[in-house]
């Protein structure tokens, strides 16, 4: 596809369950970001991948959160033992390269933890 895609669009889970959120960046984009957006708030940085470099995980709120990027393309954000405060929209963005500025965003995954 031409843009960044994310799946699922919506996810409802029970407290304590694990969830996986997927991001397919634009083909050829080497940089990928995950953000969390709580209701009515701005974006909170979670993690950043750039090429084959070690990811910047400085924004992950706890060790229940992890992410990987396979083959420099698709990325999966995993949240273990979900809590109600994890409920938010999770946005993924890709960038052509580290010297470029524009982040292209996916439509996000709305996660609801009951």
């Amino acid at each position: 596809g031409a843009g960044v895609s994310q799946s699922p669009s919506n996810k409802v889970t029970e407290k304590g369950k694990d969830v996986e959120l997927r991001c397919d960046p634009i083909s050829g984009h080497t940089a990928l970001y995950w953000y969390r957006q709580s209701l009515g708030q701005g974006l909170e940085f979670l993690i950043y991948f750039q090429g084959n470099s070690a990811p910047d995980k400085s924004g992950l709120p706890s060790d229940r959160f992890s992410a990987e990027r396979t083959g420099g393309s698709v990325s999966t954000l995993t949240i273990q033992r979900t809590q109600q405060e994890d409920s938010a929209v999770y946005l993924c963005a890709s960038v052509r390269g580290s010297s470029y500025n524009e982040q292209f965003f996916g439509p996000g995954t709305r996660l609801t933890v009951l």
Partner: protein, 115 residues
């Protein structure tokens, strides 16, 4: 640490009129980028306009323009001839040029267009 502040949680404007959204930021860096993003109800974040700090000329994109005041650390967005499709959340964001590849985001301003 850099911060971005949007002091207007919500703004409303009559269709076809002009509205200005405010953004201020704090940084010790001399060169950086500033952005305005639009997020409609579809959740898709869309880049509206960007400004490079070393450029004195204000960026414009059709009906959208910015008033960049570097000394005052202000970066407001002006939307002329407002249209119903402009209704969305608008976010101001900052990126340092050299050391910081992350975007620092404001909390957003909800723009309502009155028909």
């Amino acid at each position: 640490a850099q911060t971005v502040t949007q002091s207007q949680p919500e703004m409303s404007v009559q269709e076809a009129e002009t509205v200005t959204l405010s953004c201020t930021y704090d940084t010790s860096e001399s060169d950086y980028y500033l952005f305005w993003y639009k997020q409609p109800p579809s959740r898709q974040m869309i880049l509206v306009i960007r400004q490079e700090a070393y450029k004195q000329q204000n960026a414009t994109e059709n009906r959208f323009s910015v008033n960049f005041q570097k000394a005052a650390k202000s970066f407001s967005l002006k939307i002329s001839d407002s249209q119903l499709g402009d209704a969305a959340m608008y976010f101001c964001a900052y990126r340092g040029k050299d050391s910081n590849y992350q975007l620092i985001w404001g909390a957003g301003t909800k723009l309502i267009i009155k028909p």
